[in-house]
Symmetry: C2
């Protein structure tokens, strides 16, 4: 009896449902968007933006995705156990760990002349051409060759000798902002930086950049957030299919009286008699504590205000306005048809990415 699937669901406090079909459809939307000859990589860092990289990878493999990006070396090494496709790593070349890259055929995104020099030395030591992506910074000022380094490289192209250059890349800072002039400026800088290398393939676009102009597409798109259902074009309706649904359960319902308080710090005072539902969800599940006293959870189609502090395992909502009062054990929507991650993020003062990457480990996860 204990092993029945439906019954097993009952033992969980909250349920995260991840629609892999929607993920596949989102990937294919990028293939449709890509200009002819432009491939589409999968950016699956941070455990596939919190959704579980093993399942995300398997889904993209089925769609013939042939290039993957992660952030850290540990992520790359994990992924290598699951696929033989090219895996590139944004974080660059970790000094003292070069043999891991070589052993598992991980492609470092080389972010500086020092990175390039160290990788070239490995090429010489091993007497084989090693794969690499060169990252030109065009305004992020985070990672990548700056203007001076770019100029030095252009003046002395022998620095690249022996490397198997997979791509030149750069990264947009403001592509989600349709009005930002910076996107076009970065494109121009990238074109200038790479003009001397017409035969090397190029990659510039993240999710948002893809939708801004096909001029930016070059040879490889690198969608991340939009694969997972976030909106790459916030100025208009989301073109992506929703991937995530998150539901929790009502643990207890109580009537409260005017003048009483709720939760830690007793910060919420009830101005009239009402009813409160305590639900199984908290900041330990990645439901940000900054949502204390802000925003809503949904009972069926009705928004119930979050009241008081979000605590580690519990959130309290005011259900006094509901016409049909819920019962203990009833389901409350956190993310789903009535509220997507972008919407909840805005209320929390953040972005949907953080909502996804924070999705907790205590949820019962269903992949559908």
């Amino acid at each position: 009896m204990l092993s029945n699937d439906l019954h097993s669901r009952n033992k969980s406090s909250a349920w995260l449902s991840i629609d892999l079909g929607a993920l596949a459809a989102n990937y294919n939307l990028f293939k449709d968007q890509a200009k002819p000859g432009c491939a589409v990589a999968g950016v699956i860092k941070a455990d596939g933006y919190g959704l579980g990289v093993d399942k995300v990878l398997a889904t993209l493999e089925n769609q013939d995705c042939a290039f993957y990006f992660v952030a850290t070396l540990d992520e790359a090494l994990h992924l290598r156990k699951l696929t033989q496709k090219p895996i590139a790593m944004f974080g660059g070349l970790y000094h003292g760990a070069e043999d891991y890259y070589i052993h598992d055929n991980i492609i470092p995104v080389l972010n500086s002349l020092a990175d390039i020099k160290a990788w070239q030395e490995q090429t010489q030591n091993h007497d084989i051409p090693l794969p690499a992506i060169i990252h030109f910074d065009t305004g992020m000022n985070r990672l990548g060759l700056g203007q001076d380094e770019t100029q030095s490289l252009l003046n002395d192209q022998d620095r690249l000798k022996g490397l198997k250059l997979e791509y030149f890349m750069s990264h947009f800072a403001c592509a989600d902002d349709v009005g930002s002039p910076m996107t076009q400026e970065q494109y121009e800088r990238f074109k200038t930086a790479t003009a001397a290398f017409p035969t090397i393939k190029k990659s510039l676009c993240n999710s948002a950049g893809t939708f801004r102009s096909s001029d930016y597409h070059f040879d490889l798109l690198r969608p991340g957030m939009a694969l997972y259902g976030l909106n790459p074009t916030p100025e208009q309706d989301n073109p992506m299919r929703p991937v995530v649904k998150l539901e929790t359960r009502i643990l207890q319902i109580r009537n409260v009286k005017k003048g009483e308080t709720v939760g830690y710090g007793a910060i919420h005072h009830f101005e009239k008699d009402t009813a409160v539902a305590t639900v199984a969800l908290g900041y330990a599940d990645g439901f940000l504590r900054s949502l204390s006293g802000k925003g809503h959870l949904y009972y069926k189609d009705t928004a119930c205000p979050i009241i008081g502090r979000v605590s580690m395992d519990l959130v309290t909502i005011d259900i006094g306005a509901l016409n049909t009062p819920p019962q203990t054990g009833d389901i409350i929507e956190v993310l789903g048809p009535y509220q997507d991650a972008d919407t909840l993020a805005k209320i929390a003062g953040t972005i949907g990415y953080e909502i996804l990457t924070d999705l907790g480990r205590r949820y019962h996860r269903d992949y559908i």
Copy 2:
């Protein structure tokens, strides 16, 4: 060569060190604080406040901890595989999952008359006394029997018949605030609610409550946060030993010019020429995005301001003021001697608990 421990450390982007000796010392500080005859449970919900419940449990077992609390049923069932000691679960009795509790001998914290009734029915069905904790709400208004329900129970004590009552409990809302009158009020309410049951053991104190008055101790303390090094008495120096150290690596250093910007949205404008270090840490590691443009990371003993947006895998800091400039690959302290979780939390507008429970999965974890 790839399996060498020290070398293996090189392949990680960041390092989390957890001092289990300090955890043990913190537990023993509660044993020292407890008034004679009062036991000390371990609250190890949320994966041991983010530090890894398996290691936390083993450490407390070695200190002869004999009672554990978790939040959810899944947590309780996981723990049952690791210990035969009593495990209680704050989240109450999940309807439709009662047989899991019975099968694994999990003690539900019964939060309502409905919970009590359902558990009593199980007692009758199985013809065995089932263990339970009864939770009287004394002001949190989150979980627990409210005043009306408490009165009903006192009027009809047969509702408890057949249950093996381990403890009566309640939970403080404001014990961390030394000036709050609510703590003493909750104590008085708890005494009143339980006065008719002198033979049943009682538990009221969380970490902070323990330090407020030994009157509140009763028969069982339930420390959580302070075990993990957070300060239970924020009005004075932290009596606990630090448990967590978090370090990351510099991925790249760059010189930037006055007028340039950094990061997504280009929100940070440099007012003079300086140098920026990009470090391997981001909100996907639980480093809250609300720290964008706020607070510091430490290079040796020097605070380096966080500038620009915290991104998924990267944080940028201004290192222009350092006398001895760091190198790529050098170590940056996130949490440690120069900045504890409580301090970082305050800057982020949250509490140390959220910093701990958000500690990411990408860190290389060392238990020392």
